[in-house]
């Protein structure tokens, strides 16, 4: 393993080290400011990366990735607004802890736990990615189709919000991913006669459209006033910000949360956003004093920050080993791979092992730089929270347009951005989640290709999908997970309905007492 890391660092030029440093700094700022995120920073970095070699480009992206995931805790704790959705749970206890006069402790713990989560997840990435890629390379089209089917099932249920709506959106994503020339027979389809669509929708503008416009609209003052006023708490950290004995009492919480973050990060399509919420809920359930959660307990800061950063390495595992993005940001990285003429997946380890280890090295360096820079540049990061986002976002939109245009040097890609932005907005308006759309779009073309190739291999004998053990296992897992999670969701809704009926009945008693 050590020689692989050394191989990775040997790919670095002096510029690469600077780019990791710059990426971490930019990622921290973007992660810190509510409404921006590491995803937004990467969208701006993508056009800049076109002048760089792939190693330097991805070193920059890894710096932004790690910095972006870690920076969100600052606004979550000092402002009560999560810098990124992955820091939502940190606000539940981090902000109250800061309001009670302990912002330094809250921030110190959050920063240290972010580092710990990232470090362990990168270690897991080192250990798991290559063996997984060696297994993945032996998978045939039937197994690969079943794997994608499993990924889509999982994300439809877990991130779709509702089983039926999740599947509708996932299938829509798959459909949009199939636009253009069919890989099997070279036929142009689904283009509505638009010649520029013959190569399909470009991944980067489409993904940017799905991610960025939501941030733009929610940057409006009208939207913010609907969410209420938040006051920035001033903060200085002395030393680490917390006592080692305090952290020692959180060891099991940290280990459990890191495991949750890693496990959820590995699952395709869901990452930091889900992991921080799950880790917080589990920490509360396992705590001896669950009633104190929400009032400013350190458990409520340790759990989400360990989990959301552990999802970093977790999300990179399926991306590098299987070519399946672990979350939204890695879906964007998939587009960046395409732009630099690379294909994420098991072949990457065979043909570009040096490049892969360079990514690992960049992640390790970014992890170390992030914790140092967060402590050192905290006053500067806090100052960025005062930047009015409603002025910043239109400028970021222009940068996004530069990114979209530079994909193929044509304005058509900017129109693709707008179409996907409008589609995402409409889906959200009709209460659909868009995470399955992202995964379906990214995997759509491959999904159809593997299915058709698989059927051609077995002369359209569909039973082969169930006779082959790996394929059968994925299909059974998909069905079992879907049924289990559907029932769990149904029971939760029934419990909620029962609780509401109980409170209505109570009020009915109050009214009759009057």
């Amino acid at each position: 393993m050590l020689e692989n890391i050394i191989m990775g660092f040997s790919q670095f030029s002096p510029l690469t080290y600077l780019l990791v440093f710059g990426g971490v700094f930019v990622g921290l700022i973007f992660g810190c400011v509510p409404g921006l995120s590491g995803t937004t920073a990467i969208t701006i970095a993508i056009p800049m990366s076109l002048v760089l070699d792939p190693v330097s480009a991805f070193a920059l992206f890894m710096g932004i990735f790690v910095g972006g995931c870690s920076g969100g805790c600052i606004s979550a704790i000092l402002l009560g607004i999560p810098g990124t959705p992955s820091n939502l749970s940190t606000t539940f206890d981090g902000y109250p802890l800061a309001k009670h006069g302990q912002p330094g402790k809250a921030l110190g713990l959050a920063i240290f736990c972010s580092f710990l989560g990232t470090f362990v997840s990168i270690f897991a990435l080192f250990l798991l990615a290559e063996p997984l890629s060696r297994v993945a390379i032996k998978l045939g089209p039937i197994e690969l189709f079943s794997l994608i089917f499993f990924a889509l099932s999982l994300v439809s249920v877990l991130a779709g919000g509702n089983l039926i709506k999740g599947w509708i959106v996932a299938l829509l994503g798959v459909f949009l991913g199939m636009v253009g020339i069919s890989q099997i027979d070279g036929a142009t389809r689904l283009t509505m006669g638009i010649r520029k669509l013959s190569s399909g929708f470009s991944t980067t503008p489409a993904l940017l459209g799905m991610f960025v416009v939501g941030s733009l609209i929610s940057a409006s003052v009208a939207d913010k006033s609907a969410h209420g006023e938040h006051h920035l708490i001033d903060c200085r950290i002395k030393g680490l910000g917390f006592k080692l004995s305090e952290f020692a009492s959180q060891i099991w919480n940290a280990i459990r949360s890191i495991a949750i973050g890693l496990g959820i990060g590995i699952l395709p399509g869901i990452g930091g956003i889900t992991s921080n919420l799950v880790a917080y809920s589990v920490a509360k359930t396992c705590s001896k004093t669950p009633e104190k959660f929400g009032t400013g307990v350190i458990d409520g800061v340790v759990a989400p920050e360990c989990a959301n950063n552990a999802a970093i390495g977790g999300a990179m595992i399926p991306l590098l080993a299987l070519g399946i993005p672990g979350d939204g940001l890695t879906a964007l990285l998939l587009g960046a791979f395409e732009l630099h003429g690379l294909v994420a997946g098991p072949i990457l380890f065979q043909k570009n092992a040096g490049f892969v280890y360079a990514i690992f090295a960049a992640l390790a360096l970014a992890c170390l730089l992030t914790v140092i820079m967060e402590y050192v540049s905290l006053p500067l990061l806090v100052r960025t929270l005062k930047v009015p986002i409603n002025i910043l976002m239109p400028i970021i939109m222009v940068l996004v347009m530069v990114g979209c245009f530079s994909v193929n040097n044509r304005i058509f890609e900017c129109w693709v951005f707008l179409i996907f932005a409008l589609l995402t907005y409409l889906l959200k308006k009709f209460k659909f989640s868009t995470t399955p759309l992202i995964l379906g779009f990214v995997l759509g073309a491959d999904c159809e290709t593997y299915l058709r190739r698989g059927l051609m291999l077995v002369n359209n004998d569909v039973s082969q999908f169930f006779k082959r053990p790996i394929s059968c296992a994925f299909i059974i897992l998909s069905v079992v997970c879907t049924v289990l999670l559907f029932h769990q969701d149904k029971h939760q809704k029934e419990r909620l309905k029962a609780a509401e009926s109980a409170s209505e009945a109570e009020i009915g008693v109050d009214i009759s007492d009057d």
Binding site: F175, A187, A222, N390, I507
Partner: protein
């Protein structure tokens, strides 16, 4: 006297109907796009539009399921849940001038933003990247800030002019990326 809480199912009640109709309309549109495709010489029984058509049909069926589910739930819940929601809405306190203004901006921000971006793209080819970006920022900032006074537009114009010039110089001159330019070169 306490008011009865709104049942969370009320909020989802019409959401399922709207989502179902949206899914039906979407599936019809998706199916229509499969009607034109280039012919192939492949002997495969599954052609280039078989899977897309199957997906469109499945989305149609799922949309129907949403509508049926809405109907079944509505029959079970009856009208009392709906009137509870209406009672709560009627009882909200009156809004101030500022709150009314922000409410209006809250409703128009999204649609106007999309129109602005579309105009931005249409103008980009005609007047070039820099000028169209400046115009876009000048119009977008007042919308997001809910400040459409002359001072607000002037401030946005200054920010737009400086930022679009800096972005053009950075990407076109430093990074050597090609950006759309009009007859005057930028």
């Amino acid at each position: 006297m306490k008011k009865p809480p709104v049942n969370s199912e009320n909020k989802e009640e019409y959401s399922d109907l709207a989502s179902g109709i949206f899914a039906l309309a979407l599936s019809v549109g998706l199916f229509a796009t499969t009607l034109s495709h280039t012919k192939t010489f492949s002997n495969s029984s599954i052609g280039p539009v078989t899977i897309p058509r199957a997906i469109a049909v499945v989305i149609f069926v799922l949309g129907l399921v949403l509508i049926v589910r809405w109907y079944v739930r509505r029959k079970k819940a009856g009208k009392t849940a709906v009137s509870a929601a209406a009672a709560e809405e009627d009882s909200r306190p009156q809004q101030t001038e500022q709150e009314r203004k922000l409410a209006v901006f809250g409703k128009i921000t999204a649609p106007v933003t999309f129109v602005l971006i579309a105009l931005y793209l249409l103008l980009m080819r005609k007047i070039g990247f820099t000028l169209s970006s400046c115009l876009y920022i000048t119009l977008q900032i007042p919308l997001l800030s809910a400040d459409v006074s002359p001072k607000g537009f002037l401030k946005a114009f200054i920010i737009g002019a400086i930022s679009s010039a800096v972005i053009y110089l950075l990407f076109a001159k430093v990074f050597q990326l090609y950006l759309p330019a009009a007859g005057w070169g930028f």
